[in-house]
């Protein structure tokens, strides 16, 4: 083949290939998982979310509209400045199209502004702040797994209606803890219950015995723990030690993940009531996915609802690119809204104008050691909370995108 003919053929091939991928920027869809990979939230999100995102890409076939899908990840160390620097570099230099997971509300809110300004997709599974779909909502963001409002309402209303009509709160004394407590207080009152007292513990805190004693003294039927991570674990461990469960008081972790229950152990955690968005042992589909995830993680662990949410969000994102034929952020998220979410994570989930993915939540109770038949067999599902009941009504969040409609 002479040189001129060779050049002609390759130029033609390039044009043909380019034509097929015209709408996919840089001919690659790049997804970045940005989360905590070493700190407090690294077990409930962390590497497990990276594995979940890769599973979604592999299950989708590794390509969308002929363009390869690439995955990168980084540790934001729960610091908004670190997270912002990574996100800016990812978007400006590495041409990342979507930033996924982002636990820790302060970091998520920073990423929200960056992705809004630079028109990139933000699929949040790990963060809790309901402001992400409230005043800070963005047309390029979807909040996937849970938020403080749903956690508070799921547990607050359900327990109050079951007769737990007087509450005492132990709050982690920072923005997240206070928001969780206030949301739950509102839910309890809405359901006809009353709040007997609340105490603010410093954050982080190791010894909760003093606060538990105050809770015990209040005579409240339910003690709500408005904290997370090792604060929750310490509080539950010590509540068991001080016999709160035996004296008839019910303990509830308002934001407790299955990894927390695992680390407390069933002997101590039994009877604890909590709200979660997904449980690995719900049906054959969830079990099969969890088993695959566990194998990729080296075994011995089961995924949290945040991990499953990352898988579901990435899968849905790729479906929307496939349907719309573009990876332009606003168009993709608009297309995501038109497709119902049906996968192992949820059935008939829908994405609202404010970015909230509305799906059913579940109220669960931690099993007794005698009821648990195999590793990670931890929950009895008490009730499925319909998505519309769990999540904040669309018009109550003050999201400008909704007000404009």
């Amino acid at each position: 083949m002479n040189l001129r003919k060779w050049a002609f053929v390759s130029a033609f091939a390039l044009i043909a290939a380019g034509g097929a991928q015209a709408q996919i920027s840089d001919n690659v869809v790049k997804i970045g998982v940005l989360n905590d990979q070493s700190g407090a939230y690294s077990d409930l999100s962390g590497k497990g979310s990276v594995v979940a995102a890769q599973m979604a890409i592999d299950d989708f076939g590794g390509k969308v509209k002929g363009a390869p899908v690439q995955l990168i990840s980084a540790d934001h160390q729960n610091k908004p400045d670190v997270g912002s620097a990574i996100a800016n570099r990812w978007i400006d230099e590495d041409k990342v199209d979507a930033i996924v997971d982002v636990p820790t509300s302060s970091v998520a809110l920073a990423i929200q502004e960056i992705t809004r300004t630079k028109n990139r997709v933000h699929l949040n599974s790990g963060a809790g702040s309901s402001a992400l779909t409230g005043e800070k909502c963005s047309p390029t963001m979807v909040h996937w797994s849970y938020d403080t409002y749903a956690q508070a309402h799921g547990t607050g209303i359900a327990l109050t209606k079951q007769g737990g009509d007087s509450w005492f709160f132990i709050t982690a004394d920072y923005a997240f803890g206070n928001a969780l407590r206030d949301d739950t207080m509102a839910a309890v009152k809405e359901a006809g219950g009353k709040v007997l007292g609340a105490v603010s513990a410093p954050f982080p805190n190791t010894d909760f015995s003093s606060f538990l004693l105050q809770a015990q003294g209040s005579g409240a039927k339910v003690i709500g723990l408005a904290n997370a991570g090792s604060d929750t674990i310490n509080a539950i461990k010590q509540a068991h030690e001080f016999g709160l469960d035996k004296s008839g008081q019910k303990l509830t972790g308002l934001l407790t993940f299955i990894t927390d229950v695992h680390s407390i152990g069933l002997e101590t955690a039994q009877g604890l009531v909590l709200t979660d968005s997904w449980y690995w042992d719900t049906n054959d589909e969830t079990r099969a996915w969890a088993k695959r995830w566990s194998e990729k993680m080296g075994g011995g662990r089961m995924p949290t609802s945040v991990h499953a949410g990352v898988y579901s969000a990435v899968m849905h994102y790729l479906k929307a690119i496939d349907k719309s034929g573009t990876d332009e952020a606003k168009k993709v998220v608009d297309t995501m809204r038109t497709i119902p979410v049906n996968d192992m994570y949820t059935k008939n989930g829908k994405i609202r104008a404010d970015g909230r993915m509305v799906h059913d939540m579940m109220l669960v109770q931690v099993k007794k050691p005698s009821e648990s038949k195999y590793p990670w067999d931890y929950y009895n599902v008490l009730r499925t909370i319909p998505g519309d009941e769990a999540y904040r009504p669309l018009d109550k969040g003050n999201c400008p995108l909704v007000a404009g409609k």
Binding site: G39, A40, S42, L44, D173, P204, S210, F211, I233, T268
Partner: protein, 291 residues
């Protein structure tokens, strides 16, 4: 103040229990500083190792709490000895700042390794069956295990104090701190004593870790959560003063307990406020000797 007396008693007792942890931890720290002049920043990591060794023994070998109470401190103590022999010894003639930096770095490495292998969520460790349950004291429900912690801590503190103040070995140790070359001239193996002291201090941290395992979350960061408070206790008590650190440990536990009743938000800062005041008024600490 509107606080019923029984509640106050309960909180004071809880303060005393927390003070017990502070006392055992600060005792080891004060011992190491007093005799070796090393500010042992790895103390928190050694405390965490104590708890983890107990957990590992339970899950991998099926060895329960009581043997762990003896074995885990020994393991941590041996680790301390290895650290002293291989690393700290080389810094003995340098400014104490180098020891501080080395132990701080060590703490970060140890915590990082545990975090890598075991994650951050923590591991379950139950209260030993013989100490489960509690007694109703009238003004509060006292878990038996907490009572045991106070008694055990008092015994440990008293034992260590007697060892150092009342025995020949203790006398030699104290002499070696004052004037190592003179003591060596009497035929005493001073480097061995220093190694043993560091090992003993580390073992005390490990022991506190085992005591803490059933009540606190056993996770790689548990040491760094508590070590700063313990340092404040040692500074308030007077660096290197053994009796001072024990008394201050219990005393500050009480103060913290009271703060939790009257203004809980400040309970994590009250110790540092006291530290600032003590440093202003009596820079050598409450029980320290001005040099």
């Amino acid at each position: 103040m509107g606080i019923p007396l029984p509640v106050l008693f309960g909180q004071l007792l809880l303060g005393l229990i927390n003070g017990a942890f502070y006392a055992v931890l600060s005792l080891g720290l004060a011992l190491i500083f007093g005799l070796l002049n090393i500010i042992n920043f790895a103390h928190g990591a050694q405390y965490m190792m104590g708890a983890f060794v107990a957990w590992l023994m339970l899950t991998m070998l099926g060895i329960g709490y009581w043997p762990a109470l003896v074995i885990a401190p020994l393991v941590v103590g041996l680790f301390g000895i290895a650290v002293e022999r291989t690393m700290l010894r080389r810094l003995a003639k340098l400014d104490p700042l180098y020891g501080l930096l080395l132990t701080f770095g060590l703490a970060l490495v140890i915590e990082g390794l545990f975090r890598n292998f075991y994650g951050v969520s923590g591991q379950p460790y139950a209260v030993p069956s013989a100490l489960q349950g509690g007694v109703n004291l009238g003004f509060m429900f006292l878990p038996i295990y907490r009572g045991f912690v106070v008694v055990a801590s008092l015994a440990i503190c008293l034992g260590s104090w007697l060892l150092i103040e009342k025995t020949k070995l203790g006398a030699l140790l104290r002499a070696a701190t004052e004037n190592p070359s003179l003591v060596r001239a009497f035929g005493v193996n001073v480097p061995l004593m220093i190694t043993a002291t560091y090992g003993f201090g580390a073992a005390l941290a490990g022991l506190a870790g085992v005591l803490a395992a059933p009540v606190y979350s056993v996770n790689p960061l548990m040491g760094s959560d508590i070590i700063i408070v313990v340092f404040a206790v040692v500074v308030i008590g007077g660096m290197g003063s053994i009796l001072g650190s024990v008394l201050t440990g219990f005393g500050l536990g009480l103060v913290e307990g009271l703060t939790k009743v009257f203004y809980p938000q400040a309970s994590s800062t009250i110790i540092f406020v006291i530290m600032a005041i003590v440093l202003l008024v009596k820079p050598a600490g409450l029980f320290g000797k001005a040099s």
